[in-house]
Amino acid sequence: MANITIYDGTSRFFPGKTPFGFYDYDYEFQTDADKVVTFCARRLGYPIENIELQDINFYAAFEEAVTTYGNEIYAYKVRQDYLSLEGTPTTSTTLNTDVIQPNFASIVRMSHQYGEEAGVGGTTTWYTGSLSLSVSVQDYDLNTWAQASASLDSTDRIEVKRVFYEPPPAITRYFDPYAGSGLGMENLMDQFGFGNMSPAINFLMMPINYDLQKIQAIELNDQVRKSQYTFELVNNRLRVFPIPTEAGGKLRFEYIKESERNSINAPGTSGGVSNVSNVPYKNPTYKEINSIGRQWIFEYTLALCKEVLGYVRGKYGTVPIPGAEVTLNHADLITAATAEKNLLIERLRGYLEETSREKLLERRSLEADYKQKELNLVPQPIFIG
């Protein structure tokens, strides 16, 4: 006749009695464990009525409560600081006792994509390439060029970011009599290569807007009266205007490899924090938990014990007694336990939320406002110098 003992009013904790042993060697955990058993048993009705649990059930609940408390605290910290934590090494011992210094690493990392498209940053390399222009050939297939010259995988493509196919800057023709600028008297100097410089003769200082207007006039003249340098780029097929008339010209361009842009591995973060599961937080150190935290843990332990007791008493719905059967209070226990657990979790999360950086700064700002209001009530003496 198997006789499974139940709690008899005494318990004696020693390491190995909890399922995971996270805190078994913490002296204060050891001391509190038996007190928690007494607390929970009495809150459940012992010694007026039996508690169909063993000491190990209480210890398991106690360990779970401490772990849950730690999880809530550190999950909150992860949520609060994740932008600063992402990408940091996971190999550090623990962040439990560290004060997190906020940083811009993730923000900058997230911004790389915009700089990348604009050509002013990012982590995708811009390569340079060139092809030789041929006489009377207007269309050039850059895909073909890439396969031959860009060391691409067979499934990869390039995306051309910039084509250097432009007319000479208008400033170089500032003194060009054919530029349509109406300033042909300096043609000779331009031919000698002195176009951009003062020839050390008479010089009339003109306002800068005068120069700008002349340059715009040259550009507009080219656009209206000439076949302007331009190109079309569709699906990496480049069509240049005007049609080249001389051989030997080089057309240069910049491109990226699509495979590199599609890469999702942020450089420099390999082996670092990649998600909330590998942020290096560990279970809390019980002896460092303050009385506020411990009281929460005790109450959560009680709720867990209540839940377990409910499951024990409710396994069969009714319990046979000689000639009849009785229904125990398992339903009430489980309902109460569930409600209490939820309430405790909500209370803790609310408490944590109240101490978030945002809330603290908000409160500090309010305090400053109120202080200022109060100080304004102080009569201000008239300064007489």
């Binding site: 006749m1 198997a2 006789n3 499974i4 139940i6 009525e49 039996n50 169909e52 024990v312 008493r313 396994k315 069969y316 319990v319 046979p320 007694i321 000689p322 000639g323 009849a324 009785v326 125990l328």
Partner: protein, 173 residues
């Protein structure tokens, strides 16, 4: 394969039953076990010199009480009353007491003779005393049936008998 009603569950029931019967209800009776060996009978099978009982035993019991009925006109001074005494089988097993017809149960200093004994409250329909093993100690269909189910109770139906007919002297238990 038997899954429910394993010895661990039965142990829980035992705890709950004992808490209920011993600590909460705490209804007690004195059980006088009829001593067949010591009782002398005549050639007609009658205990002509009176019945002899074993040492009385104090037991917890759930008692289902019938009302006393009016005395018959020719039996002035007597009453009739039927009671049902429900015992936790484990309590009886602990003291190796087997209830039987003819035993006397003393309650409120009144005596009730057991008419019949019912032992039919099987949890999950199984009695671990009958695991249906063959001569080699195996059950070809199922193993471990001796660990499942329980015969939970022993229920005694009894009727009132006057003290002078029982012949039991009150003594210290």
């Amino acid at each position: 394969m038997a899954l429910y009603g394993e010895a661990r569950d039965i142990s829980l029931f035992r705890h709950i039953n004992r808490e209920l019967m011993h600590d909460i209800i705490s209804q007690q009776v004195v059980y006088h076990k009829y001593n067949l060996v010591e009782t002398k009978i005549n050639i007609y099978g009658e205990a002509s010199t009176g019945r002899i009982f074993q040492e009385p035993t104090l037991l917890y019991s759930l008692i289902e009480r019938g009302d006393e009925s009016s005395p018959a006109f020719d039996e002035v001074g007597t009453v009739a009353q039927n009671l049902t005494f429900r015992f936790l089988r484990d309590d009886l097993t602990d003291i190796q007491l087997v209830c039987d017809q003819g035993d006397i149960i003393q309650w409120k200093d009144l005596y009730y003779e057991v008419d019949n004994v019912i032992s039919n409250q099987l949890f999950v329909g199984k009695n671990p005393d009958y695991p249906n093993k063959d001569s080699t100690g195996t059950n070809p269909l199922e193993t471990g049936l001796e660990n499942f189910g329980t015969s939970l109770s022993v229920i005694c139906n009894a009727h009132y008998v006057p003290a002078d007919k029982v012949g039991i002297d009150k003594q210290r238990l």
